[in-house]
Symmetry: D2
Subunit: 427 residues, 4 copies
């Protein structure tokens, strides 16, 4: 058993720093600066900006939001030169090439926060520690602060132990996991083409403190969609026949979409999460917008849901004579993890000090966009695995989410590092 105690204080400190300044999907400029500065300091090469993505498959990135975040970041101390390098895209892939033959192993850590207002009182460990969120309405309430800082700790370890390693290591600091937005652009880029092993993880979820869960299969495939309808205004009392009613198209589409027939081959779900329509009480509504999502047990079943929803949206637009537009804002898939690699993770986990329970999950629910990276790696014969390392959170995306960093994070770090040793170590 390796001793990684030397890396832990730094990891905890970084995690708390990130926790103090959370950034939502596609706006993680300061977070990215922390990461890039550190991995460059350690001697990694970095893949940044447009080079990290296939731009056509970047999802859910709204230019106006990104531009505002860039301006804000400059005011808060962002290096203008780095900002330029980023080309408007957050995230970073840090690459260590040992120069020796050997496998290419990728480790994936996501870095964004959620739109939740943190509890600013003594019941919250972050508040007590003085590192609760300084950004109103934003919070690392899904633990991606822990993920990002763990990636940096792994990077530090690689730097210190590079002579014992073979092959190449790619640490992917992925932006915009929330809403399953960020992975798609990376999956469609060529950055994973040479990857033999991919390992991802999440803190918490269904694992409690001192537990590790190995995901053998599951995650629901999902598509996040924004829909807009555009009609024609008219005075509703005097000449409604001249209008084209976007609100009614949205209501009709909502009624139809919620009624998409269940799929005989596996679970589905659908939600019209928000609907905003209309301009005034006595005007035939011109604009309507919907935020929705579909899910399915498999990519095919999810695709059935998405296709059917799109057909109904198109049909409702036709019914009311309005225009429509569908933007895919996020996407994730289901996975079947590699058996060997998962076994390896399971074995390692059982040896980690303090871990009291290691279990496997088949048919994991929820959605995770690392699935896209896993499936990409598997598509060319690579192997991939995913695990949860536990913490006693009080619910993800809740204002009292906690991670007990000093107890939970060392477990994850140990598994990542020992996995690297097994996969890329000199035996």
């Amino acid at each position: 058993m390796l001793s990684l105690s030397a890396y832990i204080p730094e990891m905890i400190e970084t995690r708390r720093k990130l926790h103090h300044h959370p950034e939502v999907a596609w706006t993680e400029f300061l977070t990215t600066q922390v990461i890039v500065n550190r991995v460059r300091e350690l001697g990694f090469k970095t893949v940044l900006g447009k080079a990290l993505f296939d731009e056509e498959h970047v999802l859910g990135r709204e230019p106006t939001v990104v531009e505002a975040a860039m301006a804000r970041s400059l005011k808060l101390g962002m290096n203008p030169k780095l900002l330029e390098e980023l080309q408007g895209y957050t995230g970073c892939m840090a690459v260590w090439d040992t120069g020796r033959p050997g496998p290419v192993t990728a480790l994936r850590f996501d870095i964004d926060c959620v739109n939740v207002e943190e509890n600013h009182n003594d019941t919250n460990e972050a508040f007590r520690g003085g590192f609760d969120s300084e950004c109103a309405g934003l919070m690392h309430a899904c633990g991606h602060d822990a993920h990002a800082s763990m990636g940096l700790a792994v990077a530090h370890w690689i730097h210190d132990n590079a002579e014992q390693l073979n092959g190449k290591i790619k640490i992917i600091f992925q932006p915009a996991e929330e809403g399953t937005k960020g992975a798609c652009g990376i999956a469609y880029s060529n950055n994973l083409d040479d990857v033999d092993y991919l390992l991802g993880a999440h803190i918490g979820v269904s694992a409690h403190l001192h537990e590790v869960a190995v995901i053998r299969s599951g995650f629901l495939a999902t598509t996040k969609m924004n829909v807009s309808f555009t009609g024609v205004p008219a005075h509703a009392g005097a000449a409604a026949e001249l209008g084209r009613n976007a609100l009614m198209a949205a209501c009709s589409a909502s009624m139809q979409v919620m009624g998409i027939a269940r799929h005989g081959q596996g679970d589905t779900s659908v939600n019209i999460g928000t609907l905003r329509a209309g301009e005034g009480r006595n005007v035939v509504p011109v604009h309507a917008s919907i935020e929705m999502e579909v899910r399915g047990k498999t990519a095919a079943i999810n695709q059935y849901m998405q296709d059917t929803a799109e057909r109904m949206i198109r049909g409702s637009a036709e019914s009311y004579g309005v225009q429509y537009k569908i933007d895919v804002m996020g996407k994730a898939e289901s996975i079947v993890a590699d058996e060997d690699l998962s076994n390896m993770v399971e074995e390692i986990a059982k040896t980690v000090p303090g871990v009291t329970r290691v279990f496997n999950i088949k048919g994991c629910t929820g959605s995770e966009d690392c699935s896209l990276l896993i499936n990409k790696v598997q598509s060319h014969g690579g192997k991939a695995a995913f695990f949860f390392y536990g913490c006693n959170n009080h619910g993800h995306h809740k204002s009292d989410f906690e991670v007990q960093d000093t107890e939970s994070m060392p477990v994850g770090l140990q598994i990542f590092v020992e996995s690297l040793q097994r996969l890329n170590g000199q035996h």
Copy 2:
């Protein structure tokens, strides 16, 4: 004032004969036989079968229903040769050409019954007189028996008074007025191209016994539509995703169509009258059919209703991935009657013995497919008028509808004949 008393007993007798054997839209074979035999006997030329219609504009005629009626009529004494002449089309235009110059005047009488079961008891004048309907579920509950026999009485008078007349007279015995089906095919034929004057009438409606109402304008334009959706079956529990749901398309279309926005320029209405869908409890429904109608104050407003309904039907079919078909089953329009001709009718009516009240109606509600004939005649500069001659009916299309034939019908006859005298008489 002409005395027409010689024609009345025959007219009453014919009316009661027709009342005893009512026939619905497009099945009036025996009724047509009565008419054709009589007008030929009187020396009229007849326009029959396909020659009476533009076949492309024949509405609401279902071949299987027509064929069954033809077979039944043969069993009940229809002359096979006449049946052959009719080419499957009921109705007749009887033409009298005086050979002398003069105007062409058309008189229109409709001949079909409705789907109502007559009251077979002493409260009903027809039952008491022994001439109530012998056909289960069918009844002349809208007085078209009176109309048809009045047309024959007018024909008799023309025959007797031909020497005093000029020009040409066309007596149109129109089938299928119920559901506004029959007039369209005649309006689009060339049979009205030379018509200078057209006169139509209805018994009852808003005129009581001894009253005459002259329709100056109105009738709602209307379109009667049958809609069918065809989907794909699937086991609803095991593989609903393979189905395409015609029932839901019909429900969605119904919800949308009932919500077509009001028109700022005038009254509209819409009704989904019947909906039949589905094959079994646990099968994704494959077939759905709707009988519906739209109405509007003017042809343009009605067209807005029809177009919007069609768009919604198309959109709902798209939403559910099903095929659809729309059949126009009937059509009528609004009218503005000719002022001079209407004044003439009003004047004549005031002189008819026993008439106690003559009034004008602007903005008449309800629908009447004679409107199509009126608008056709007016389209080439002809003049047209329409009137109600009253009876104390107890509601049209009701099982206790009555016409008090001996009192009500002579009024109508007098107005038709005197109109003819004024229009085609030798002055």
Copy 3:
């Protein structure tokens, strides 16, 4: 013909002052201050605050909006003592009692603006004159600035000519006409109980410059309703069965309400103007709110629309297991104006210099909450009339609405003053 030229410059100046600082429904504190100060200066008694209304029938007044407006008004120079007198309620009734026997005549002027951003460029007369709106998003785009200042000009004339008048005169400066909110509370108060004559007017609408239209009957009855649904949240992917979906209740209600059956006795209309629902993409929506309106040719037909809509809202709430709340935000009725009083207005209008056309309107469309005051006065035997004095506006509630004040307003003033002379003058 009276010469009122002495009153016109002041009227125009006041109108432009009000135009420069428009205030929306129930926030007209500074406008009310201008009015109250002036009428008190002229010697009128004032009815203010809660005394002007029956509080239970005050519609569409949102306390948080009112409180913000009060705070803002203080900053902008509102007299705190007057603000206290107003008790949170804008508007004013100015009463002149001659002390002599005679009729009680009420004149009604409305004072609020609409939510429209004015055109700030040379195409706009107000911009050219330097008196365009200083309040972002607010504009007197319906001419109530002209109405209010005309009321003050009439008040000035009364003050100057009081010795020639009998009876009592009540000038009602009504707040919140937009959305038909303000009149209801006044109609249900006792302020109109002694009124013998009521005269109201609107600038523009269907009258062009130099035209006067006398409304003989019409206005659509209307009810403005806000609807809210409250459900139960749940994770849409993991446990949607625990949620209660307010968004779907709102969509269902919208589909149903748009399909309320037409009324056979007269025009109706309905509009779901806005719908806002839902909190997040993957959460079962908890909140939904709708702004809607119904209209009907008569109060009874409008009530049918309102009752049916309420039933459908209740039913949809039941269907989705959510709570609902309906707030009536505004209300107006149809009218039949008094024939004699309308004739008087017509006669006067024909004598006004520069008026080139006077016409009557039966079945006036649109809605106007003065209807509630008219019907209240008529309910106890009083007489009421309403007229339009024209201007070449470019569409009410549009950013380029104009009134050509120097040409249009003198016409209205002349009609009001001469009517007062006829009704309350010493003959």
Copy 4:
């Protein structure tokens, strides 16, 4: 291994006789006569008529259909005395009491057919054998003819081997399994109160010829519902506001019910199978009826579907001001079979000559109302199991369904008889 060859020819003959005259749910009078006559002949006691059911829980039995079937059966040779004994209820429980101590074992066989027209041509084994259905539109297309005749073969074997048996044996010939109607009334009766073991089976389904499948758990819980709405008629064009629209209530309910949110704990499904509404094109529809079903992975999940559907039906009725009625027409549940008894069946199956594959099914889909009997027996501590014995059917409920009786049926018979020997044999 027992030789049962003596019983097979008789079993096949009976099966073909029943196949020739199929009877649908609750009309199996002649089928019941065959059964009752035979088991009485063999010395069984019979529980018939109302004694077989708890009448309050009899589902989907329509008196008019039953009465017509009784009349028809009399014409076709039904013994009037037996018909009287049946009290209008089909089915029979045949009881053999050995008089010796021992367990009570129940075997369940269902006896009704489905509404399918059989293929009357050479591709069909029944047609070739001359025993295809003589009843138009009816067919034993689910193999219950095989079930019933197998029950009689078992009865014969019991009669012949009674001396080797202990305890009591109840052979339940259950009517009305299609639509899951018949079991509920039996489950709620006291006929199963003393049952220690219950064994049921189905031919075909997912087992091919020479295969046996043991159902360890599954079947979807389901509720079959008929819904009717009753409104108020009105002329749709002239006075639609007086109507109450049952068709629209049904459409609205259908839209809502198809959109019942998925359940996070397990599969659900819902189908609006048929909808019939309306009387005429221009009449506000008065009557609407729906045949629908809901399903769920467990009874609780199915109940969620049923409760939610009922709430939506109630809400839609409220929305449209119409009356509604919901009749539960059928019901089934999910099961967890007894492990020991299932193991026993599995063991026996493996020894049956000609059986090439025995497999277990967990999470069996589809619905089967034997589930109600199984759960009833388990509720008081009894044990139950269920199995499929295969045939190469071409799809259940299809017109070319086949069972290859001489090959498939002996397998089922062997398992039933050997199970009896093990459970009630003298060891």
